[in-house]
């Protein structure tokens, strides 16, 4: 019963989402109304690591922690792109990950969104010009929102996703 009493003692630790600063989040493509209406309250996210150094991954796992708790917005992380509505892509697209990333994009049913997380996703960051990098994420698949930062805070990633949905709810 030690666990139960610890649970009761700590109580709910989820913090309300602060107003994210706008220059980190760049909306690239206008999301059509039907997708926004659908995904407003229920969104399946498939995280794709296209060659990232895992800095962004650690922040993304922060999303599922009790403090940021992305589930309260109706987001839940899914195992297969077939179940997903939004691809959370991190890292520059390496040569090996170019085909798998495109296959993942094709495997996701429409309507679908793509949020590219981290500087590498937009400008290949420190890995720019490397022999192993095929290019930034938007050169492989169409991207809706970029979230800058190396790595971006979980709050910013959350704002990025919410911006993609234009719901912007706190």
């Amino acid at each position: 019963m030690g666990l139960l009493s610890k649970i009761l003692r700590t109580g709910i630790v989820t913090e309300p989402l602060g107003a994210g600063d706008s220059e980190v989040v760049h909306l690239v493509r206008e999301v059509d109304a039907e997708a926004r209406r659908l995904f407003g309250r229920a969104l399946g996210i498939r995280e794709v690591d296209a060659g990232s150094c895992n800095g962004c991954e650690i922040e993304i796992t922060g999303l599922m922690s009790p403090v940021y708790d992305s589930e309260r917005f109706g987001f839940h992380f899914v195992a297969s792109p077939r179940h997903a509505d939004l691809l959370l892509v991190t890292g520059p697209v390496t040569r090996n990950m170019e085909v798998p990333l495109r296959k993942t994009y094709d495997a996701t049913p429409d309507p679908k969104l793509v949020v590219a997380v981290g500087d590498c996703a937009r400008t290949c960051g420190v890995f720019a010009g490397s022999y192993a990098v095929a290019g930034s994420v938007d050169s492989v698949i169409p991207v809706d929102v970029f979230v800058d930062g190396c790595p971006p805070e979980p709050a910013h990633i959350l704002c990025g996703i919410l911006t993609a949905l234009q719901s912007g709810r706190a």
């Binding site: 649970i7 700590t10 309250r41 309260r72 077939r82 509505d85 996701t108």
Partner: protein, 313 residues
């Protein structure tokens, strides 16, 4: 309300409550993990979204892949016609008993496993193989627990069992009943893919059993399968609730009694959901080859239940 209308009303009610039950369990688990979590009605929104989404089907899949969701959903809904959700004089009680319920659920598992194999991905094959292994090992426990119940109630038809326990309240505390309840609870955790056997919230394909089979489904097919899985959980909870503690079930089909029956049913489902949430917060997933130990323990519980019902003959 004519008795024949009770069947479809029960089915509709079950369809309505099932996603809510899964949502409530997720909400309780979230609260036990100290986070606010999604609201309990989140599964309804997910189903609405899935029904509107596009369907992507693998090029290896055959017609069976597209027919399986309807068979799985249909067989589970057919079970809700047999299970005493609201009232005891069931119109369809003569059509099927507890064995028919078990075999209808097996029909759903059979076609879901085939649909898992169809696209030809290794995950689907792995999920199908493990799901059928667990289902096969849970059968003997289910059979013995059914007969422990049926033996003390004088019939395997669910209406009779519930009516019998309703008539003699001390029957519910008989050791045979309590042991059968424990055995069926373990089988519920195994059959509906809850924690000790299979983790419903996992993302790692290699540890999945139920979800590995449905990785290939999307759009409305996935919605049907998710809804059928929630319905199966509701059916098992109703079996646990209304067969072992049938108080609150309407004896007459008056609106007042029915309303009271819906209320007590919801309460029972929440209570059982709470127990499952607590169990899932406290224990970790069993390795696949420790699952037979859990199922043989539940078989022993069922065996003792039958023996106990001998002794009190």
């Amino acid at each position: 309300m004519s008795p024949w209308l009770l069947g479809p009303v029960q089915a509709a009610l079950a369809l309505l409550l099932a996603p809510g039950l899964v949502g409530a369990i997720r909400w309780m688990k979230a609260r036990l993990q100290n986070r606010s979590g999604a609201p309990p009605w989140q599964p309804y929104l997910e189903l609405r979204k899935l029904f509107a989404k596009e369907v992507v089907v693998s090029n290896n899949a055959s017609w069976l892949f597209r027919a399986a969701p309807f068979i799985v959903f249909g067989s589970t809904v057919a079970v809700t016609l047999l299970v005493p959700l609201l009232a005891v004089p069931l119109p369809f009680d003569g059509a099927g008993d507890l064995l028919v319920v078990v075999y209808l659920l097996l029909l759903g598992t059979f076609f879901l496993a085939l649909a898992g194999l169809d696209p030809g991905s290794p995950f689907g094959g792995m999920g199908a193989s493990r799901e059928m292994t667990v289902a096969a090992l849970a059968e003997p426990t289910m059979a013995l627990a059914i007969f422990a119940l049926a033996w003390s109630a004088g019939s395997t038809n669910l209406g009779h069992i519930a009516a019998r326990v309703l008539a003699t309240p001390t029957e519910a505390l008989a050791p045979g009943h309590v042991l059968a309840f424990a055995a069926i609870f373990v089988v519920t955790l195994a059959e509906t893919g809850r924690l000790p056997v299979d983790n419903p919230a996992t993302h790692l394909e290699l540890t999945m059993i139920h979800e590995a089979m449905v990785l290939e489904y999307s759009g409305r097919y996935l919605a049907l399968i998710e809804w059928a899985a929630a319905l199966k959980l509701l059916v098992f909870f109703t079996l646990l609730g209304n067969l072992f503690a049938p108080w609150g079930i309407a004896a007459a089909l008056t609106p007042g009694a029915l309303l009271w029956a819906v209320l007590t049913l919801a309460l029972k489902l929440l209570a059982l959901g709470g127990v499952v949430a607590l169990v899932e917060t406290h224990i970790a997933k069993l390795r696949l080859f420790r699952v037979p130990e859990l199922l043989s323990a539940s078989f022993i519980l069922a065996l003792l239940a039958v023996t106990a019902s001998f002794l009190l003959r």
